[in-house]
Structures are given as structure tokens and as C-alpha cells.
């Protein structure tokens, strides 16, 4: 008797878009999307209207005008006759240099401090804790400024190195002297170090804007070659040892393999070191490592290393104690346990937060302006912006470059992360 009525056909009503949970979330998302787009369009419209009203246009042609200013650290050739675009590249290279060296140094210090903080040696562990807490809790800008102040206030001026005839006659010593057989001069403008020169240079290849020295390439190639041969000899010796039980004497072969090719290349190129010498106001010859660069590099490194140390400590603590105990049971010494068992596993936990530290360091390098280091912010976002008055264009370009830079670092580190992550079989 019971008749089952058909389930009522779902007649779609407009109200269901809000009251029916099946549609509600989609409705809300669409509405928000439209509001967001409308907002963005309004802001962009506002921007262009205001620009037009003030008689300004959005144009990047200024990048091809003559820059007209000088930069004190140029890793790629640059004179004030070059364009603003090239000045931007000089700044970008300076940013990359300090970011790269900063990441490398921060990683090394961070890993060492992170491991030592877990040391069973009470004093070492506490000292590392103090380091981490001091550097982590003070703004990085202050560290950069403090380092810069130390470099400029404590070190002597170039003129203090001067030796006059009168001083020799009176038997006076100059106020400051050079280190390492008169080859390194630490001054309040920077550290002058010897420069590598080749008397039989092979010249350069020009790769677009970047000239690459063939000499440097050859030297690098000979070092790589030497290391490869060095390892091949070692592997070969291990094979012989496994087959016969006797390890052949290879140390002199290995040393020869390591340094032989390099020496031959250096002699062939006529290698020599050019010492900085005091002439006029400053030292001439040699390479000048600017104090602003050192301050920025050391400041960023020590600050970021404190964070990396904590990441490393967290990564190590995440590995169960059983792993250490198992390694000890197999007879591994503590050092090898750390290197062979704990750290490789800890890396999986360490890498993801490490990526953001690298990104932070790279972006923090724009604090260079505080110590007059000419990075991207100093050239494109500083002098070029001021001299051309193209604030919007320069800022947009700078944001784009930092974005691309960060994405590149991030994707590079993700590749590495995939390589070391737990392989589930």
C-alpha cells in the first residue's frame, strides 16, 4: 500500500546558490573573484589616470640612456658612459655576489654551530646558544652597521702606511704596515689583496655583456681535472686493496695529480701576484675588497647562520635516538655517526626551511644601501631612480628581478630537496 513518491525533482532556484551547501562555496568563490578583479581594475585605472594627469607615462626607454655616474665595485666592465641598463646589471651582479657568498658562509657556520649546540661539552654548547640568541634577536641592519663601523673606525687610513724619508731618518715606524709579506693592506676603505695576473694571457671571450677570461677557465679546468685524477687514483687503490689486501703507496701520485696540472697551467700562463702598493691617496694595483661589501657579507652571514643553526638543530633532534644507538652498536664513532647516519637523514627536515633562509638572505642584501654597497637597490633603485625620476618603472623592475631571483633559488633548492628526500619503495 505504501506508495513511494518519487524523490522530488530538484528544481533549481536562484536562492539555492546561497542556501544550498552544494553551490554555496562555488558562489562565494566566484563573487570574491569578481570583487578582486574589479578592485584590481579600479586600482590600475586609478594609477594610469593619475599618471596621465601628472603628465607621466610608463616607459622603460630610460634604461638605454647614458648613466653618467660611477660605481665603486664593478665585476663586469662599466664606465659612466654605459647605459642605465648596464648599471643595473652591475648592481645585480653585486647583489648576486653577496647573496651567493652569504648563503655559502651562512650554511657552513650554521651547520657547525647547530651541531655544536647539541654537543655534550657543556661550555661549547652554551657558547653556541649565546651566539644564536645574540644574533637572532638583534635586527640584521644593526649587525651590518656595527660590522661596518668596526671596519671603518678601527682600521688605519691608507696614508698611515706612508713611509717618508724623514721618518726613515728619524727611525720612526709608520702608523700601520701591511700583512703577509707586504701583500695585504687592511684600511678603512677596504682590504687590498694581491691580484692574479698572467703575463702570457690568452685573452677573453665575450659572452654577451659578460667577458670571461680564458685564463681563469683554464685554471679552473686544471683544478677539476686534478681532483678527478686524484679520486680515480684513490678508487683504484681501494680496488687493489680489496683484491690483494695490500694498499699500494699512492700519496705522491695523488699529490702530483692534484697539483701537477695546475702548476703546469700557471707556469704556462706566466702567473704572478701583483701586490698592492701605496701611491697617491690609495693603494694601487691589487684587488680592493670594499669594507661595505665585507660588512654586508659578514652581517648577513652571521645573522642568517644563527637561524640556520636552529634549523639544523631541529633537524638533528627530529632523528630518533635509536639511529644513534644503532650506529654506536655497529661500532661507529660519534663523528662518523653524525656524518654518515644522522645528518643525511636530518637533511630531509632541514632543506625546506633552509630555502626560506636563503631567500631571506638574498632579499636582506638590499640593506646594502645602509653601508653604500652598490647592489641592485643602490644602482637601479637608488641612483638611476633618482637621476631619471622614473620611480614606478624602477620599483616595478626591481620587484620583478627580486621575484625572479627568489623563484630561481627556490626552484633550484627544490630540485635538491627532491634528490635527498626519503625514497619510498
Amino acid at each position: 500500500m505504501a506508495t513511494f513518491a518519487d524523490t522530488p525533482k530538484a528544481n533549481f532556484r536562484l536562492g539555492m546558490l546561497i542556501y544550498d551547501t552544494r553551490y554555496r562555496s562555488v558562489t562565494i568563490q566566484i563573487v570574491v573573484l569578481f570583487l578582486f578583479m574589479a578592485g584590481a581594475a579600479w586600482l590600475l585605472n586609478n594609477l594610469f589616470t593619475n599618471l596621465a594627469e601628472r603628465g607621466k607615462d610608463l616607459s622603460f626607454s630610460f634604461l638605454w640612456y647614458r648613466a653618467g655616474y660611477d660605481i665603486n665595485q664593478t665585476l663586469i666592465p662599466y664606465t659612466n658612459d654605459d647605459t642605465h641598463f648596464r648599471a643595473m646589471l652591475v648592481g645585480l651582479v653585486n647583489t648576486l655576489l653577496v647573496a651567493f657568498l652569504g648563503c655559502v658562509a651562512a650554511t657552513i657556520i650554521g651547520v657547525v654551530v647547530g651541531v655544536l649546540r647539541l654537543s655534550s661539552n657543556w661550555l661549547v654548547a652554551r657558547l653556541m646558544t649565546i651566539y644564536v640568541e645574540i644574533f637572532r634577536n638583534v635586527p640584521v641592519l644593526l649587525w651590518i652597521l656595527v660590522t661596518f663601523a668596526i671596519f671603518t673606525e678601527v682600521t688605519p687610513q691608507p696614508r698611515d702606511f706612508k713611509v717618508t724619508d724623514q721618518m726613515i731618518a728619524e727611525g720612526q715606524e709608520p702608523a700601520a704596515s701591511m700583512l703577509l709579506f707586504d701583500s695585504v693592506a687592511i684600511t678603512n676603505r677596504g682590504t687590498f689583496i694581491p691580484k692574479i695576473v698572467y703575463s702570457r694571457s690568452l685573452g677573453e671571450i665575450h659572452l654577451g655583456f659578460l667577458p670571461i677570461s680564458i685564463d681563469t677557465l683554464l685554471v679552473l679546468a686544471s683544478i677539476v681535472f686534478g681532483v678527478l685524477v686524484f679520486r680515480a687514483i684513490g678508487n683504484n687503490a681501494t680496488k687493489v686493496q680489496e683484491a690483494t689486501g695490500v694498499r699500494p703507496v699512492t700519496w705522491w701520485k695523488r699529490l702530483l695529480a692534484l697539483f701537477g696540472p695546475l702548476l703546469i697551467v700557471l707556469v704556462a700562463l706566466g702567473f704572478s701576484l701583483q701586490r698592492p702598493t701605496l701611491g697617491g691617496f690609495n693603494f694601487t694595483g691589487g684587488v680592493l675588497v670594499l669594507n661595505s661589501f665585507m660588512a654586508l657579507w659578514i652581517g648577513l652571514t652571521l645573522y642568517t647562520a644563527a637561524f640556520i643553526a636552529e634549523i639544523v638543530r631541529a633537524g638533528i633532534l627530529a632523528i630518533s635516538k635509536g639511529q644513534t644507538e644503532a650506529a654506536y652498536a655497529l661500532g661507529l664513532r660519534p663523528g662518523r655517526t653524525m656524518n654518515l647516519v644522522i645528518l643525511p637523514q636530518a637533511l630531509r627536515v632541514i632543506i625546506p626551511p633552509l630555502i626560506s633562509q636563503y631567500l631571506n638572505l638574498t632579499k636582506n642584501s638590499s640593506l646594502a644601501i645602509a653601508v653604500s654597497y652598490m647592489d641592485l637597490r643602490g644602482t637601479l633603485g637608488g641612483i638611476t631612480l633618482n637621476q631619471t625620476g622614473r620611480e614606478l618603472e624602477c620599483m616595478l623592475l626591481m620587484m620583478l628581478i627580486y621575484l625572479v631571483l627568489s623563484l630561481l633559488i627556490s626552484s633550484g633548492m627544490n630540485v635538491y630537496n627532491n634528490a635527498v628526500r626519503l625514497k619510498e619503495r
Binding site: 578582486f36 593619475n50 594627469e53 601628472r54 678603512n188 690609495n282 637608488g382 633618482n386 637621476q387
Partner: protein, 338 residues
Amino acid sequence: MKKSVFLGTLAATALLAGYASAATLDDVKARGELNCGVNTGLVGFAAPDANGNWQGFDVAICKAVAAAVLGDATKIKYVPTTSETRFTALASGEIDVLARNTTWTFSRDTDLAFTFTGVNYYDGQGFMVKKDLGVTSAKELDGATVCIQTGTTTELNLADFFKVNNMSYQPVAIQTNAEGEQQFLAGACDAYTTDASGLAATRAAFASPDDYIILPEIISKEPLGPLVRQGDDQWADINRWVLNALVAAEEYGVTSANVEELSKGTDNPEINRMLGNEGDLGAMIGLDKDWAKRAVSASGNYGEIFAATIGESTPIGLARGLNAQWTQGGLLYSPPFR
């Protein structure tokens, strides 16, 4: 969260840009206060005194404008700007007038869309060095490290000067005069370069000014003057004629002491027109009759301002030189008040 912050920032930027387009005179009157962009601290030109009151040659321009427009030379909000931030501050409407030893150049007048309202100081770029360096000419500076304020015309002049003379140098880019002073005194640079007037002012503030010398070479023309945004002609006119009134007042012998008496009428029709006793020049620029009288009584005429802030009797000790009246062989020359 991120999105909303981003939107908020964009909206703020857009609003700020929209704000700039209204008539400046009405804005200033409605606000009851003049926003005047000045140097972050250059003794003699613009620096706070011991009581925190801004004093100086550029500050006097602000005071004269505020007195002419608002009738009160104290109703000013001083906005300290660095050489880097000054143009953005003016373009965005944060300040109404920029009186900050700024060089009048072609591109700033045209491409940056500003209007210079005159020249209040004819200057040129010079160099300062420690005396015991033994340098007597800028041409001996080959290889020197030079401190330079970034974002200035001096930065480009410096590059040109060393290039033309086939010399090399190491630039150290600094943000403010205070930073330059500190770096220079610490010996981080051999020479400090900026406008010669700025050098004199900086040197005067040193503990032992006699240990430093300003080299004789002047390597550029630096006409310094106040500027406003382009497109508001009335506001530009007001600023231009306030400055002209200060210059003309000196020429005609109108001082802060006698301006009250002279405004009652003299036998010189030019003074009468300027001070509102005859005709109504004020109405032509949207002000009342007494505008010029108030401008002059704020801190005196051009000569009085010069003598009180940077003149030879002050520690800065600048001579009038090019900045004397045209009748005295200088370049100061106000168009007629007619």
C-alpha cells in the same frame, strides 16, 4: 591576509596620487599649515636650533610663503627630506613646496614635472679636503676616494669632472649630509664634494674647521631654488613672487624694521604696489593686499636673511658674490612689480 595588505597598500598609493591634483592654495588654506620640504640638516640652510625650531636660509623661504599665504610664519610643518626622497615627497603631495638647496636643471623642470620658482642661491660644486693632505687643487685628486650625496646633480658633475681631466676616483655614495660628514671625518674618503655653500656650512659645524680646506675649483653651475609641482600655475606664481618680493625688498631698501612704516605709503610707486598701498597685485595671485608685507616681515628681505643665516658674520661665512643685487654686480634681479 597577504592579499588584503597588498590591496591596502595599493589603495593608499592610489589615494595619495589622487590627492596631489587639487589646487594647492586651497589645500594649504584649508589645512591652515604649509608643508615645507627642507634638508635633513644643513646648518645655515635648514637645521633645527637648540630649541628644536627650524632655522636657516631655505627655512626663511618657507616662512615667507607661509606668512604671505596664511598670515602666520609659524604655521609650517617642516618635512626633512634626503636628496633621494625629496622629489618623491613633492610629487606625491606630501609637501607643498620644496626649499632644499635643489639645483634647477632642465630634466627636473620638464621630465620630473616640477616648476622652479626662481633661484635663491647661485652656487657651484666644490671639494673639501683635510688640510694636512697637502692638496691645493681639485686637479690633484687623481685616485682619491670621494664621498658624494647620491641622487644629486653633483654626482654626475663629479663623474664628468674626473673624466674630462682624465683622472680616476672611488665614489662612496651617501644618503645625507650627516652621513657624509661622519664618513669624511672618519677618513673613509679623502674628499667630500657637494655645493660650495653646503661645504662651507658643513665645515662650519666641524669641531676644528681650520683643519679642513675647500679647494678653489668650482666645477659646475648650481642654481639652487625652491620648486613646486608642475600644473598648479597659481601656486607656482605665489612662490615665485614671494621670492621676488624678498629680492625686490632688498633692492628698494625695504627691511623687516621699516616695512610697517613703508606700507603706509611712500613716494616710490613700485614699493607702494608691492606692499599693497597702491593697486591690488595680491588679488591677481589669490592673496590679499598685504601678502608681500607679511613675507618681508617674516624674516626680513633677502639681504637680511642672507646675513642672518649664512653671511660673513655667521660661522658659515659666505660672501654675497654672485648672490648680490644686480646693482651691486651680482645676479639677483627681480622682475618689476607692475
